[in-house]
Structures are given as C-alpha cells and as structure tokens.
C-alpha cells in the first residue's frame, strides 16, 4: 500500500515537530491574542477532515465517509467537510493549519475524563485541579501582562476547568435583566470581602467584565447562547486595551452517536455554526486578527466505522485546527497512520500519532511567548517526551 505510516502532507513536518529553535518573540507581541475553542462531546475528525486519499477511507467509513467530490479539497489526500466553507477559504489564504490523527494522551473513552484531562493538562483525568491555559497565563511575558486587569476570559456562565487557576481570569455571558445599581454592588462587595473571599473575587471580576462587554450592548441575533454571539463577545474582550489577551469559548453537542449524517444530521449544523463563529470573531477583531491564533480542540475522536445507529462511538485519534492571521497556514500536518484495519487503535479508532500537547505547547511558546521551561514544568507536567511544535506561526 502506498499510503501508510509516516507520510507527512503539505509540509516538511519532520522539521516542524523536531525543531527546537524558538521563533523570536518580538515586534507586535503586545497585540498577540489567543483563543481556545473547545468542542465538547468529541468531534468526528474523520468527517470534519475527511481523508479521502486513504485507499481504505471509503470502505472503512461506509455510511459516514465524505467523498472527494463532496469535500472542500485541501490537497490530494485531505479535505474539509462541506459545512466548513469559511475555514476552506482561510486555508487557501494561508491562515489555517489542519492537524490529523492527533489526540490528547487520554486513551479511554469517557467524555468526562477525556475533557478533564484535556483541560487540566496533566497526563491523567483529575491529575491536576486547575487548567493548563490558566497556568500558562501566570508566565505571560511582561509586555503582554502589562496593565491587564485579567489575562483570560471564558465566554461561559461557569468557569471551565481549562481556565481555572491562580492567574486572574474572568467570565461573561449575555444578560436579560437590567444591571443592579452601583450602590448595591459596592455594599455587597464589602460584605463579600469581609466574609466570603471567593464571592468577592467573582463579583469584582463581573463588574469589570460588564464594563468591557457593554451591558445591554450585545447583539443577540442568533440567540444568547449562539456560538457566533459568544465569539463576537470574545472579540470585544480581546480588543479592550486593559482586557484579557486570551479567551476560551465552548461549543457543546458534538457527541454524534446516532444519525450523524442525513437531513437532520447534527454534525453538519455544528460545523456550520463553528464556521460562522470563526467569521464573527475575525470580523470583531478587525486589525487584531493579524496577530491572533485560534486553537480548536476536542476531547477525542470517534470510531472509524459507523456504529449500529448511523453515528459513531467514542474513539481516539481525531482532528484539530489552528488558524488566524498569525498562523503560518495552508498546510495539513499529520503523521498519517492509515485506515487499514491492522493500523487502527484497538482495531476501531484512528491511531493517534501526534500528541495534542505538542501543538498546545508550540502555540504557548511561539505565539504567547511563555518560556519553554515553564511550559514543560508548570503547564504540561509529565510531557517532556512531547516536543513543542515549531514553525506554526508567521515569523
């Protein structure tokens, strides 16, 4: 078989992964922005990024495969799901990197453990009580930290694990009630400071976040929880001079056990919303988009074969995306294991050949300027064998 292990597509990926050299962190660094989008429920990487060039793709995915002529072509081997038209344009424009056969170190199949591990950044579920993104923010370079009230924002009613930890972060989601008068808030602030530090901290964060988002000023065109609304809000926070430089946005509902394809297929809808949300973020950031990177990750991939109910079950290897004006895109990076039965993980899943932490580390080091030594020690412990990717960003 021609297509098997160790083919790298679209780039000299060996150099990308093995290289140690750090891109100099220089001009424009204070404008750098980083957004992590977490797709909860496990996105089907083999449908989001069909590997139609693999001779076994169509047969191994009977019922789920997206054929070459139905996909947005990335190269002769990989394509994008047709719902990802915007991402397709960004790929052509050199703004999108696509990763495949990639996964966190988690090898079981529980959403909750898988998400927990992906967010806590250790090599096991509940291995750490706070999140890798928050820990990374504690080591932001001074130029990025300077004069920021908080370093990160979650566009969610509750703080996701990935952004929990010692670094100052805030959260925000759209409102339907009028804001309380400042006098009440200051009285409660005093009461909380005297009796309940956790509530005090949350309240201070809220007061500031509202100032940034402009209470009542958010459009709710797509419904308050609409992904695009959250992405537009993220853009506002990231555009605020004293606001955060990192945002986390969540999207749920990717657990496609049944009826994945077809007229009401949920995957198609989710991908459309994702695509639209990216456009909303880019539009909101305006000029800052040039200095922005967006990382899109999910807890694991899904089974190669269709299950008994027109969907796919929990798997391992999947896809991830890194995009934005700062990204050296237009490439698919994959150490492709092949879909022949003998090459599958436990005979059922796409075999993970790239550790997601290599990508996360590369983004933290080269885009946000987090010192490599701290990333190894303080952000992703137990990962020294996983080298940070390099060459992900425009010089």
């Amino acid at each position: 078989m021609i297509v098997d292990r160790r083919i790298f597509l679209g780039s000299a990926a060996g150099a990308l992964i093995a290289g140690q050299a750090r891109v100099a962190f220089a001009a424009g660094e204070t404008d750098r922005r980083f957004v992590v989008v977490m797709l909860r429920g496990a996105m089907d990487g083999l449908s989001a990024v069909p590997a139609f060039g693999d001779p076994n793709y169509a047969s191994a995915r009977t019922g789920l495969a997206i054929p070459r002529d139905g996909a947005i072509k990335l190269n002769d081997f990989f394509g994008l799901h047709p719902a990802l038209a915007g991402l397709g344009r960004r790929y052509a424009g050199g703004e999108l990197l696509v990763f495949h056969a990639i996964a966190s170190p988690y090898r079981d199949r529980s959403h909750f453990d898988g998400q927990n591990l992906l967010e806590n950044g250790s090599a096991r579920p509940f291995g750490l009580a706070d999140g890798w993104l928050n820990r990374a923010l504690t080591a932001l370079p001074g130029s990025l930290k300077a004069s920021r009230r908080e370093f990160g924002v979650a566009l969610a009613p509750a703080m996701p694990l990935m952004l929990r930890g010692p670094a100052p972060v805030t959260s925000w989601s759209p409102s339907i009630l009028p804001a309380p008068r400042a006098d009440l808030i200051s009285r409660l602030g005093r009461l909380y400071r005297d009796t309940d530090p956790k509530l005090a901290q949350a309240l201070e964060g809220a007061a500031q976040a509202n100032g940034v988002a402009g209470v009542g000023g958010m459009g709710r065109e797509g419904g308050a929880n609409d992904f695009s609304t959250l992405m537009s809000a993220a853009a506002k926070f990231l555009s605020e001079p004293a606001g955060p430089c990192v945002a986390m946005v969540e999207s749920t509902g990717w657990d496609t056990h049944a009826n994945q394809v077809g007229p009401y297929g949920v995957l198609n809808r989710n991908l459309l919303a994702l695509d639209k949300g990216i456009d909303a973020l880019a539009a909101g950031l305006g000029q800052r988009w040039r200095q922005t990177a967006v990382l899109i990750v999910t807890e694991f991939g899904r089974t190669v074969a269709m299950n008994g109910t027109g969907g796919s079950d929990h798997g391992n290897g999947g896809a991830a995306f890194l995009l934005g004006g700062a990204v050296a895109g237009g490439r698919v990076i994959a150490d492709w294991p092949g879909l022949a039965r003998g090459n599958l993980y436990e005979g059922r899943d796409l075999k993970p050949t790239t550790d997601l932490r290599a990508l996360m580390k590369g983004a933290l080091v080269d885009h946000l300027g987090i010192p490599g030594a701290f990333v190894e020690r303080g952000v992703f412990p137990d990962s020294t064998q996983v080298r940070a990717m390099t060459g992900l960003f425009r010089a």
């Binding site: 909860r40 509750a158 006098d183 065109e221 797509g222 419904g223 809808r269 919303a273 008994g308």
Partner: protein, 489 residues
C-alpha cells in the same frame, strides 16, 4: 439542647437538607430537626397535583413519535434527530431564535408550552413542598440519572421519566430505580439503547424483516447506555471495569427498547418492550461473572449485581456526601453512608438516613454553594412569593447557567462550587436578587425579619449590619438574598 443549638440544627435541616426555610419553618422544626428529616423518608402515597397533571409516559412518547412522523422521520418515530442547537429564546417560543429552520419552529411550537408547564410543575412542587428533604432527594437522583433535552426527545420525556422512574423509588431500593431507568423510553432514547442490536442477533442476520427506516438505524451494537450505566449510574469511572465489560453489558441489554407509535403489536406506545430479535444470544461475561440467562433476564441479573457491587455503594455514597456535606466529602461520612447502603441491600431511605446521622452534615457554617435552581426555589420559599410562570423560570435559570432538564451531558449538573462560582454567574444572581427585591418593594417586607426567620443563627453579624444599613427595604432584601449565607446552604 439549648434554644440556640436547636435553631442552628433547624436551619441546617431546612436549608441544607431541605429546599430552604419558609417563614414559620424553623420554629416548627426546632423541636426535632433529625426526626423531621427522617419522617420524610417514606414513599409518597400520592403524587403532587402538578406532577400528576403532566402527561403519562405513554402519551409523551406518542406525542414525540407523532411529531417525528409529521416531519417525515420514520412512521413510528424511532429515527430521532438530535436538535442540539435550539436556542433558549427559540425553545420557549420567544424571538431569540437564530438558526430558524422549519423543523425547529415546529419543535418549539409543539413542545415549548409543555416544557414550560413541566418546568413550572417542577419548581412549583419544590416551592410548596412540606417534604423538602424528599424533594431534594428526587432532584439529586434525577440528576444522577440525567436525561437531558440536549437531545430533542427529552424535552417531553425527561419530566415524566423523573416522575415515573426516579421519584417512585427515591425511598425504595436503588436496584429498582436503576431497573426503572434502564427500562424507561426516555433513557432508552437518550442513550441510544433502543436501536442497539447484537451483532449475532436475529435482526443482524435478517435485516430484511425491518422496515427501511429502521434498517438504517438498527445496524449493530451501540454501547452508549451500557457505558453510562457503569461509569455514571453504578460503579463510577474508577470502579474497576474495562472496555470489555462495557461491550459485554451493551450486549447483555440489547433488545431493551420500547414500543413506538404504530407498533405492530398495536399496543400502547411508550411501554418497555424486550425485543428478543435484537438480543445478542449466548452467555456474556461481565466483571468476571458469566451471565447464562437468556433474553431479558440476563440484563435484569446484571443490573441487580451492579446495584449490589461495593464500587456502586462507594460511588453513590461519595456523591451523596458531596451533595449534603461538602464538595470534598469527609471520608468517614462517605464510609458510613456506603455502609448503610450495603447493609440495607441498597435501600435509599436507609442510605439517606445515614446522611442525617452523619455528624459532619451538621457543621453550622453553610458550605455548599447553591446551584441556580436551589437558589431559585429557596428564594421563593423564603419570600412566600412571587410565583413565576414557566417561560420566565426557564429564561431565568438559563441565564444563571442551569436550564431545567437541560444538563450539558449524561453526567448531569456538577455538584461543586468551582463550577457555579464565576464572575458571570454571580452577576446573574445579583441581577435577579435586585430585580426581585425592587418588584416586591410595594409589599413592605421587613428584610431583617425575613433573614432571621430563614437563616436563624446562621445569619452573620456582617450581613445583619449590611441589611440594617441599607438605604431602603428593597435594597436590604437584595442584600439578604445575595448574602453568602443565603447563597450557600
């Protein structure tokens, strides 16, 4: 016991174990707080009116099946589309819907009003209950066996599932609750078991006997329910089972389904049905034990054993202690609760009584941060007003991050303050405390008196000072509602 101590215990019984004290509750409970709690640990003789008025499981199943037929999905409605992206506004018939496709509009129009009624019933029963400890347990176990409207069918089935499969067994045996959950169409639909068939079953070998729309759905094994039974409902993710056990349990419960509309038997839809033709034949080994039974009895035996497994006792005791005592539950209390579970053959009333008997549960300081629905119900109980209609309740709870029957995933709502205390969540709570207090300004409520009656000795000196210094009674009331000791329990 001194008056002070008995009032502290009354406040703990009403606020931590119950759903929040009402105006006269502490006085009534103070004589025997533990006795008041334990007296609630018996099955109820009749359902509260609003719950009895909800549709039957059969009617709810039929309604959903009919709607599916109306949009052209399978004549008996067994091809369930997932509609995960219904926006909050849209689902309630509001104007907020963005991605307005015809199917969503039809869904909202058909099920929005019934959903609002069910939410209203759920909240209303909590507001008025004389057995609030029992009601809290219903919500705890309902969350343990989450069926979420994140999957479309649950918008009609989740409320009746909670009533028929959970509520009925809250003071009975866990094994019966587990069995009822695994046999209810809501769970069978939510976790896909109704379309799972054994690879060597009759249907797998003779797919031609199925109508075409089912042939496309029922093609093989689906391990979703089996996995969650092990991971979430019984042993817990670190309970010691393997992927092989998941697959084995999935095979054991193949054939567990329910009757759809237009079923060939011409029987009432929504009833549990064991479909032998879908069942994987043969003996299956689960946790090292061979299950030689045939058909439905195989699953019955496996679930009974899972309910009795020591890992299940430990898993359930940990969750109960986390809910009633602290986010990081003290091991001694977990052990005592697990012991009560094992010693009573999984009797949930005896298990709940062990929580009441755990000294750790009576620490005077309110520790557990209330989830939004707990906050809402305890607020309304404290103020004796105002009743909100279903749509307003949904919108309110949605903005506070806990839309009823809409947990994000099968593991239900998190039970730890790290999930609920965030900048945005606190702000939404204060917005509501403020709006509610202003709305009640005309009622001339005395915030200090209400705070004292609801919190008893748990009312702190700081909060008293803040209420006393408020610029008007409405602001004082908002301070009481927002105070740490009322936001916690």
């Amino acid at each position: 016991m001194g008056v002070h101590v008995s009032l502290v215990h009354a406040a703990i019984a009403a606020n931590r174990f119950g759903l929040g004290a009402r105006n006269q509750d502490l006085k009534a409970i103070a004589g025997d707080p533990r006795g008041w709690l334990k007296a609630q640990l018996r099955p109820e003789t009749s359902l509260p009116g609003p719950l009895a008025a909800l549709p039957s499981t059969e009617d709810a199943t039929t309604a959903f099946a009919k709607w599916l037929s109306s949009i052209g999905v399978g004549p008996s409605g067994e091809g369930t589309p997932r509609i995960n992206s219904i926006t909050p506004g849209a689902a309630m018939g509001g104007t907020g819907g963005g991605n307005k496709q015809g199917i969503e509009q039809s869904y909202v129009k058909t099920f929005g009003p019934g959903y609002a009624t069910a939410v209203s019933a759920r909240i209303g029963v909590g507001e008025t209950s004389e057995r609030p400890f029992f009601e809290r347990l219903v919500r705890f176990w309902g969350n343990h066996f989450t069926v979420s409207a994140a999957k479309a069918s649950a918008i009609v089935l989740a409320p009746v599932f909670e009533r028929d499969a959970i509520r009925a067994h809250v003071c009975g045996k866990f094994a019966d609750m587990l069995r009822a959950s695994c046999r209810h169409p809501a769970m069978l639909l939510y976790l896909d078991n109704y379309i799972s068939i054994g690879p060597n079953s009759y249907l797998a070998k003779n797919p031609g006997v199925l109508p075409e729309y089912l042939r496309n759905l029922m093609k093989g094994l689906n391990e979703n329910l089996a996995r969650e039974v092990l991971e979430l409902h019984t042993m817990g993710v670190r309970g010691g089972y393997t992927q092989a056990d998941v697959t084995s349990l999935a095979k054991i419960i193949t054939g567990w389904g329910y009757l759809g509309a237009n079923n060939q038997a011409n029987d009432t839809p929504g009833k549990f049905r064991f479909l032998g033709a879908a069942h994987e034949p043969g003996t299956h080994t689960l946790l090292g034990k061979a299950y030689v039974q045939q058909g439905e009895a195989q699953g019955e035996a496996a679930l009974r054993d899972l309910a009795a497994h020591p890992a299940t006792a430990e898993h359930l005791a940990t969750k109960l202690a986390r809910h009633f005592i602290a986010d990081n539950p003290p091991p001694a209390a977990v052990a005592a609760i697990a012991r009560a579970y094992r010693g009573s053959d999984g009797d949930l009333a005896a298990t709940a009584a062990a929580i009441v008997d755990a000294p750790e549960a009576w620490a005077p300081q309110p520790r557990k941060f209330k989830a939004p629905e707990e906050l809402l119900i305890s607020t309304i109980r404290a103020l004796g007003a105002p009743k909100l209609d279903g749509q307003k309740l949904v919108a309110l709870l949605d903005r506070m991050g806990q839309r009823p029957y809409w947990a994000p995933a099968p593991d239900g709502w998190p039970d730890a303050e790290d999930h609920w205390i965030s900048a945005d969540a606190i702000w939404k709570r204060l917005e509501w405390a403020d709006a509610l207090s202003k709305g009640l300004a005309a009622a001339n409520l005395d915030p200090m008196e209400i705070a004292a009656r609801v919190l008893g000795p748990q009312l702190s000196a700081n909060t008293q000072t803040a209420i006393a210094g408020a610029e008007n009674p409405a602001q004082g009331l908002a301070i009481f509602l927002a105070s740490p000791e009322f936001q916690r329990r």
